[in-house]
């Protein structure tokens, strides 16, 4: 086994890693659907989206590696960091299933895709004006991809929410499960303060109003009532994860850790 790497990320690097890790972990969850989605078209859609997110994660991790300064590349950052050094949001790491051990839940998957892609779209659009030229370039491309992901996911949220009694019931259950995790997307801390001060990017709490208006309109069309503001606040973006990230990383990292330098 290869030893883990330890990072010394400053606020700028942590801002980039939060995005990079959210893209990577979310991409991994979507890739778990490959070959298992309810219909072929959605199998292709989820795999396509996973690929876009993986591409975004690669660009962001490469950039984070250069910012951090110890010379780590995208592969080392993805495969050799321990759970505590991952800075993704909780929403990205939750399993696709609602119940432990069950198969993936499609309602939860499309609702998560909607929440996260609507949020990423707003974030990318703001980052196109970043003082960090590389981050702005990554954002310019990724915004086009997130826009398409958001529209596709929103279509499904409406179709299932305003669908049959069963699909509505399942969308409501997914909403109950995911809603508490959305507060973390708008919880600003010292990393956000530094980003806003240097023009690196928006403090995440600045995105709340626009996102909520977007979500409110789609949930209304889907006949799903907007829940009250969550009392719980996730802390995964500061390295304190749910119980779900560890097993995900074990699957994602086992090959490169067991066979260092292995290629095909």
């Amino acid at each position: 086994m290869v030893a883990s790497i330890a990072l010394k990320p400053d606020a700028h690097t942590r801002y980039v890693l939060r995005l990079a890790d959210t893209c990577l972990v979310w991409s991994h969850r979507l890739s778990e659907w490959c070959g298992h989605a309810p219909v072929l078209e959605e199998d292709i859609a989820l795999a396509n989206q996973a690929l876009d997110l993986l591409g975004q994660a690669r660009a962001l991790l490469t950039h984070a590696g250069r910012l951090e300064g110890q010379g780590f590349d995208e592969d080392q950052l993805a495969y050799l960091r321990d759970e505590r050094d991952y800075l993704n949001v909780t929403l990205a790491e939750l399993p696709n299933a609602l119940v432990a051990g069950a198969r993936g839940d499609f309602a939860l998957t499309v609702l998560r895709n909607f929440f996260l892609s609507a949020w990423m779209l707003a974030l990318w659009r703001a980052l196109e004006r970043s003082s960090d030229a590389e981050l702005a370039a990554i954002a310019g491309k990724a915004a086009k991809e997130s826009r398409y992901h958001r529209e596709h996911a929103a279509d499904w949220v409406v179709r299932l929410g305003d669908g049959t009694d069963e699909s509505h019931r399942r969308m409501s259950a997914a909403l109950d499960r995911l809603w508490p995790c959305t507060s973390e997307l708008f919880d600003a801390d010292e990393v956000d303060a530094a980003a806003a001060a240097t023009g690196l990017g928006p403090a995440w709490d600045a995105l709340r109003e626009g996102w909520l208006a977007d979500v409110q309109a789609v949930l209304a069309e889907a006949t799903l009532p907007l829940p009250p503001a969550p009392a719980w606040r996730g802390d995964a973006k500061r390295g304190r994860h749910s119980e779900h990230l560890g097993p995900l990383l074990a699957v994602m990292q086992v090959l490169p850790r067991s066979y260092p330098g292995g290629v095909w």
């Binding site: 078209e41 975004q56 660009a59 702005a136 491309k141 596709h152 279509d155």
Partner: protein
């Protein structure tokens, strides 16, 4: 080394016009608009600036390798990846659009001034019979850049190069 500076760059453009996109071989990397610049550096190397189509496009590395192979007879080659400005399907040449249609892929509409809403993509003209009575079957296709459609008149399914 062969030729003068201008003719080497011209020759490089001619050679790249024959390098197919690995996933849509009907059109070249030049038609696709992903070769953003070609120049001769001070040390004599040919520098090619490429831009990716999609962040996760798995063809990016293959394209870089094919470009280097195609230009190798002209001397040393360097490729550079440039993300900004982000690639848009508006950069696909008119010739490229015609080749896509001939190949059976509906070319993208223009998106300068803002991309079309995804739901509008249900009225993509059929590349075989030209009918606008078509419907979208799948928002995503065999590659990141395409969606799947069907013509209601000639009944043929077809792919569409999404406008981004």
């Amino acid at each position: 080394m062969i030729g003068t500076m201008a003719s080497r760059v011209d020759e490089a453009w001619r050679r790249l016009a024959d390098v197919p996109d690995p996933e849509v071989p009907a059109i070249s990397v030049v038609d696709l608009g992903i070769v953003r610049a070609l120049a001769e550096a001070d040390d004599g190397a040919i520098e090619v600036t490429l831009t990716p189509t999609y962040s996760g496009c798995p063809a990016t590395e293959v394209i870089e390798a094919s470009v280097r192979d195609a230009l190798a007879p002209l001397g040393p080659v360097r490729t550079r990846l440039q993300r900004a400005p982000a690639w848009t399907t508006d950069w696909i040449s008119d010739d490229g659009r015609r080749k896509l249609r001939d190949y059976g892929i509906a070319p993208p509409g223009r998106c300068a001034g803002g991309a079309q809403p995804v739901r509008v993509m249900s009225r993509v003209p059929c590349p075989r019979c030209g009918s606008e009575r078509t419907e979208r079957l799948s928002a995503f296709g065999a590659t990141a850049c395409k969606s799947l459609h069907r013509c209601i008149d000639c009944r043929e399914p077809f792919e569409h190069f999404k406008a981004i």
